[in-house]
């Protein structure tokens, strides 16, 4: 009994229902078992039906497992309330299925390793296994299963004829042997004839041909006409043709949700045009969700931000779209993702707004003129929209975005990809309008928006944003980095700062400026005698009454008041500065302000403009944050037009040998200051201008998911420091790296900088997609390096993140259709000691695979060869069935700590 109670105590924390009285009792009972409690209420006092309801509310599987271990009654109760089950292990062991999960309705056996086997052929006797499976899960309504061939599908259909929701998964190539599935549609035929209750069919991860689907649909007409949800998104590299889609539309009359990969390219015969759309609309009048995605646009690589219109115009016109919208009044979610232009879409979109009143989600790609309707509003008429994603819109101007923000006040998700006209101003005002609702933002591939622009434009929603996708284009100049390294050797002081050095592109005043960066010792400043002369605006925000005096105090300490001097970097002794282009500026905070009296006249906020010479205008906002008693220490926050903030730390060196940085920097850069600046002492003040995050304003409190796109040799080390400094809730990161590393002779550094993400305390899941990092596998020309080195570059430091789940796509050699884990990759992954789940979307050698066994917490490992074209057999990659089996066995043999 004691054991039972302790278990119940340990699980009580994970119960999902709020502040239940029973809950509290359980706690008490557990804690005071050995003490004396006046009411020894026992958890078993709860009547069985109540307990059963409680059990059914527990969603966390591990808690459920723990509950089932408590005692026999609990075990029975738990099993009888368990409705979802996801099985792992090898598919060849199906005959050893547990029989206890009788009430499972939602079964997922797609995670069972399909290595080497088709689902049922692996079994000693198909009939017995099928019978056994049927016995084990008699009530399955929702099924996810990995099937290799027609036989599997047929048996599935026989076992579970009453299944309602079915997801098929296959990443092996479609069988082409005559006896198995030569004729198109043979594979799915029996499924669509037998499973009469089928309402949802998801083939989005089922590798086959588009030709397979229409005949299968026609063959099982009675089933397909009752289908409500059909997902045909990425089953083949090619999209569906017009004729095929028409057949599907005719067969599936009562579809409510349709997701199809289409072929919109007008250059091809039978591509999708107006006629197809009209036919679709006429046949499937009940559609609520319609996603038509062009095959070339699905999962497309990031385009060139400079790209304008697509090469072709789609066969889709305003009239066609209007008819479509008129015919589908129930539409709630529409995605028309094309790779071809649809011009002047505004009119059609007004028709959409007029006809589809329930529309809440909209996704458009290559639609132009979104806001040029007859009433000049276009898209903005869709006032009920909650999620909007616009891709590749050539003429989406700032005003258009603002109009949309006005017109669709309920937007919670906003996606803007490849909008070449959009600038920071537009984004800013749009975000400001939507600041109350917006929780999910994607801004990518907009040529006029730098990462910093986006981050600063998102200021109003910083505290409420939950999901964010941006391009990470920080200082991706390899040479700058290398130069900074050189500087590091020269001057340690500089080295601390070179980490945060970014190039400042001042050629465009409005948005080109990327980062502040300068860290300047007094000694350096002495060498910079020549003020280049720019107009500087200083703003002082004072938080305390004494601030003014502090300010004066500084001035007293100055020998001769000077100003903030933006100086060109060329005169610097550090070679790093030379590498920054001449237009870029390094700010040197040199001298101060003469007319401090103005501060008083303006109250706590004073603005002062001091004209030095002709030149650019910079605005420097100084916020004094520190307690004024700390007379010799100041923090000035310097804000530039780019919206980034820096802290300026001024403290007097002579008085403090071991200076404590007055501000608590979380990012760690600032703390690493040292005293021994060459020649710094004589000047009286050491001035450090530091890029940092102001904790109060830069905290992304709700951000749980961050998605990044990074160019191949891009730098991520700085990301946590430039604008995403504090993300206490960040759990999940998606990182997509893209580019051709063959253009570089070698990686720019030893490590990419994954370590820097370790400062996000809650990060647990990472999806690291290097599949579009293209390089040479196994062999490469002289002067280049193969992918193993690049893999080492990218993965270095991953062991410092406390990840529990990792989805990893190794870099690939597309010409060879080769994507595999290399020796250093496997080595580095094997040091991530906290990993529980690891999915590798590629192949690897057995001995590399075995290195992963060093991860003591590892439970789920899967090797998924889910790249296209799929490998035709296990022999065509490095992994063999036997190797994989040996690995799975040794993984299963291990004891799991919990």
């Amino acid at each position: 009994m004691e054991m039972e109670m302790s278990v119940s105590d340990s699980i009580s924390g994970s119960w999902g229902f709020p502040s239940s009285r029973k809950h509290v009792q359980v706690r008490n009972a557990g804690k005071s078992l050995k003490g004396s409690l006046p009411y020894p209420t026992h958890i078993n006092d709860i009547p069985c039906p109540v307990l059963s309801i409680i059990f059914s509310l527990v969603e966390i599987i591990r808690s459920r497992n723990a509950m089932a271990l408590a005692c026999r009654e609990w075990y029975i109760l738990e099993r009888s309330t368990r409705t979802t089950l996801s099985l792992r292990g090898n598919i060849a062991n199906l005959e050893r299925l547990p029989l206890c999960f009788q009430s499972v309705t939602c079964l997922d056996i797609s995670n069972c390793s399909p290595w080497g086997y088709s689902l049922f052929k692996a079994q000693p006797s198909v009939e017995i296994t099928a019978h056994r499976v049927q016995q084990a899960f008699p009530n399955v309504k929702e099924l996810t299963v990995y099937v290799r061939d027609a036989v599997d599908i047929h048996i599935i259909a026989c076992i579970w004829p009453n299944v309602e929701i079915l997801r098929l998964i296959r990443w092996h190539q479609r069988a082409i042997e005559p006896e198995e599935a030569a004729e198109a549609g043979m594979e799915l035929q029996s499924l669509l004839q037998r499973c009469t209750h089928l309402s949802c069919l998801d083939l989005s991860k089922f590798y086959c041909w588009t030709e397979d689907i229409p005949p299968a649909m026609m063959a099982g007409l009675s089933v397909s006409k009752n289908l409500q949800i059909l997902n045909l998104l990425k089953l083949s590299p090619e999209g569906f043709k017009s004729g095929e889609l028409a057949v599907i539309a005719t067969a599936c009359m009562s579809l409510k949700e349709l997701y199809v990969l289409c072929d919109f390219d007008p250059r091809f015969v039978d591509s999708i045009g107006d006629d197809t759309l009209i036919q679709l609309a006429k046949n499937c009048k009940l559609l609520q969700v319609l996603h038509l995605v062009d095959a070339n646009e699905y999962g497309a690589l990031r385009g060139n931000p400079e790209d304008g219109f697509a090469a072709e115009d789609a066969n889709i016109t305003r009239e066609g779209l209007e008819i479509l919208f008129q015919a589908l009044p129930q539409l709630q979610d529409l995605a028309l993702v094309l790779a071809q232009n649809v011009r002047d879409a505004g009119v059609a979109l007004e028709a959409l707004a007029l006809n589809c009143r329930n529309l809440t989600e909209l996704k458009l790609s290559h639609f132009h003129g979104l806001c040029h309707g007859p009433r000049l509003d276009g898209l903005a008429q869709c006032s009920g929209l909650k999620k909007l994603s616009i891709k590749n819109c050539v003429d989406l101007s700032n005003t258009a975005v603002e109009t949309i923000a006005h017109g669709c006040p309920y937007l919670t998700k906003l996606g803007l990809h490849s909008c070449r006209e959009l600038t920071k101003v537009g984004l800013e005002s749009c975000v400001a309008h939507l600041s109350k609702t917006l929780v999910d933002v994607e801004v990518a591939c907009c040529r006029l928006l730098s990462t910093d622009d986006i981050l600063s434009a998102l200021k109003p929603v910083r505290a409420s944003l939950k999901r964010l996708h941006i391009d990470c284009l920080l200082g991706n100049k390899v040479s700058d980095r290398g130069a900074a390294k050189n500087a590091a050797e020269e001057d340690q002081f500089e080295a601390k700062f070179s980490k945060s050095r970014m190039d400042i592109d001042s050629s465009s005043n409005t948005m080109g400026l990327k980062m502040p960066v300068p860290f300047c010792t007094a000694g350096l400043m002495d060498q910079l005698g020549d003020p280049t002369g720019q107009t500087i605006t200083l703003k002082f925000f004072q938080n305390s009454d004494n601030g003014f005096e502090n300010w004066q105090h500084i001035n007293k300490n100055q020998t001769s008041p000077r100003l903030l001097v933006p100086s060109t970097s060329g005169s610097d002794k550090s070679s790093a500065h030379d590498s920054i282009n001449s237009a870029s500026q390094v700010f040197h905070l040199a001298r101060e302000v003469e007319h401090v009296n103005d501060l008083a006249s303006l109250g706590n906020v004073a603005e002062e403009t001091i004209s030095m010479n002709e030149g650019n205008v910079y605005e420097i906002t100084t916020v004094q944050e520190e307690d004024s008693r700390c007379i010799r220490s100041f923090n000035w926050q310097v804000e530039r037009p780019i919206g980034l903030s820096c802290d300026v730390d001024c403290s007097s060196i002579p008085s403090k040998k071991d200076r404590v940085h007055p501000n608590v920097f979380q990012n760690g850069i600032a703390c690493a200051q040292e005293e021994d600046s060459p020649g710094g002492h004589k000047h009286g003040f050491e001035r450090t201008l530091e890029q940092s995050n102001i904790i109060e304003t830069k905290c992304w409190n709700c951000l749980t998911s961050l998605s990044l796109w990074i160019p191949v040799a891009g730098d991520i080390e700085l990301l946590p420091f430039v604008g995403l400094g504090s993300c206490p809730a960040l759990q999940e990161m998606n990182i997509k790296v893209e580019g051709d590393c063959r253009q570089f002779s070698k990686p720019p550094a030893r490590a990419w900088g994954l370590t820097s993400f370790a400062k996000y305390p809650a990060i647990a899941k990472l999806k690291l997609d290097l599949s579009d990092v293209v390089g040479y596998a196994l062999s490469c020309p002289g002067g280049n390096l193969d992918l193993s080195l690049w893999e080492r570059y990218y993965l270095n430091g991953i062991q410092n993140l406390r990840l529990t789940e990792l989805d990893y796509w190794p870099p690939s050699d597309k010409e060879m259709n080769h994507r595999g884990l290399s020796l250093p990759g496997a080595g580095l992954l094997s040091e991530c000691s906290s990993l529980r789940k690891l999915f590798i979307h590629g192949t690897t050698y057995e001995h590399l695979f075995f290195m992963l066994l060093r991860i003591s917490n590892l439970r789920d490992v899967q090797l998924r060869e889910d790249y296209y074209p799929a490998p035709e057999s296990e022999m065509s990659t490095e992994m063999r069935v036997d190797s994989c089996k040996r690995f799975e066995m040794s993984l299963a043999k291990r004891d799991f700590p919990d």
Binding site: L778, G782, S788, L789, E846, H847
Partner: protein, 294 residues
């Protein structure tokens, strides 16, 4: 593309099964003539995946993994046995015997080319022809012989492999890769070696670089077709000339320019290229091309 994959059934009893299993033997194709495709070290039979589709219609192809490849069970690898290339030749013959092959064309890439030559000395009757791709009887330079590798390069290679080995033994991540080495030739050669388990890699690398098969070349009586990339970083072109002049039987050298692709010596391109681009598969693999032998 329409070819069937056929697993060899157990006809010879258990030991036969395990031999073929251990080497992951696979037979594909519908043709009459048998072609054995043998990969080099550090790779596996997937090396041929781009070649197979072009041959399956006209030939029966035997594919297998050599012992020590990353795809075989490391437990089966005997360090003592596989310290010479003769062991690999014995394996090859054993497989061919197991399959009761009486005559075949042997295609060997890199070190496999020499393994094929060794096997043919023992059983010249089985091999109607040997095609070697980037083969070399000796990698180290010697007096009057240019193999492409200096002892210093090799020392560096062994050093890197040893450090990987030590890390591996002590439970750390082996992180050294072929690209860390200075010499381009060693880089190219060792790239795949680093994909083998560190202990096996060290042993295999030593075996390869200690081997000197120059003396056995005159005993090879089977006609040989020597394919060589003009820009091969690991095997200099002169080696193919040396092979040609030393081999005992009829032979022909073909130096393939790797034009149109900037990876100098991509072995895949070479393999695929000689069949794909130049469409020479017929000529190379059928009897008519025998007339070309000198």
């Amino acid at each position: 593309m329409d070819y069937s994959v056929m697993w060899f059934e157990n006809q010879q009893g258990r030991s036969a099964m395990s031999l073929l299993d251990a080497h992951n033997v696979r037979i594909v194709g519908a043709g009459e003539e048998l072609v054995v495709l043998s990969h080099g070290f550090g790779t596996d039979q997937s090396l041929w995946k781009h070649v197979v589709p072009h041959l399956v219609d006209n030939y029966r192809l035997v594919l297998f993994d050599m012992m020590g490849a990353g795809t075989t069970n490391a437990e089966d690898f005997s360090f003592l046995r596989y310290s010479t290339l003769h062991a690999y030749a014995d394996d090859l013959l054993a497989i061919l015997d197991e399959l009761e092959i009486e005559s075949c064309i042997f295609v060997g890439h890199s070190v496999s080319g020499m393994v094929g030559c060794l096997a043919s000395i023992e059983r010249p009757d089985i091999f109607s022809k040997i095609i070697t791709i980037s083969a070399s009887p000796r990698y180290l330079n010697d007096i009057n012989y240019f193999g492409g590798f200096e002892q210093d390069d090799l020392n560096q290679l062994f050093g890197a492999m040893q450090s990987n080995f030590k890390a591996w033994v002590s439970g750390f991540a082996p992180l050294a890769v072929g690209d860390d080495l200075d010499s381009v030739a060693v880089q190219e050669f060792s790239r795949t070696l680093f994909n083998i388990r560190p202990d096996i890699a060290l042993s295999v690398a030593k075996t390869i670089f200690q081997s000197d098969l120059r003396c056995i070349l005159p005993q090879v009586s089977v006609p040989c077709h020597i394919l060589q990339s003009s820009k091969d970083l690991a095997v200099p072109v002169v080696v193919s000339d040396y092979l040609s002049s030393s081999l005992g039987g009829k032979n022909i050298v073909e130096v393939l320019p790797t034009e149109g692709c900037d990876r100098g010596t991509c072995l895949h391109k070479l393999v695929g290229g000689f069949i794909l681009n130049r469409n020479k598969s017929e000529m190379l693999l059928t009897a008519q091309s025998h007339s070309k032998f000198c």
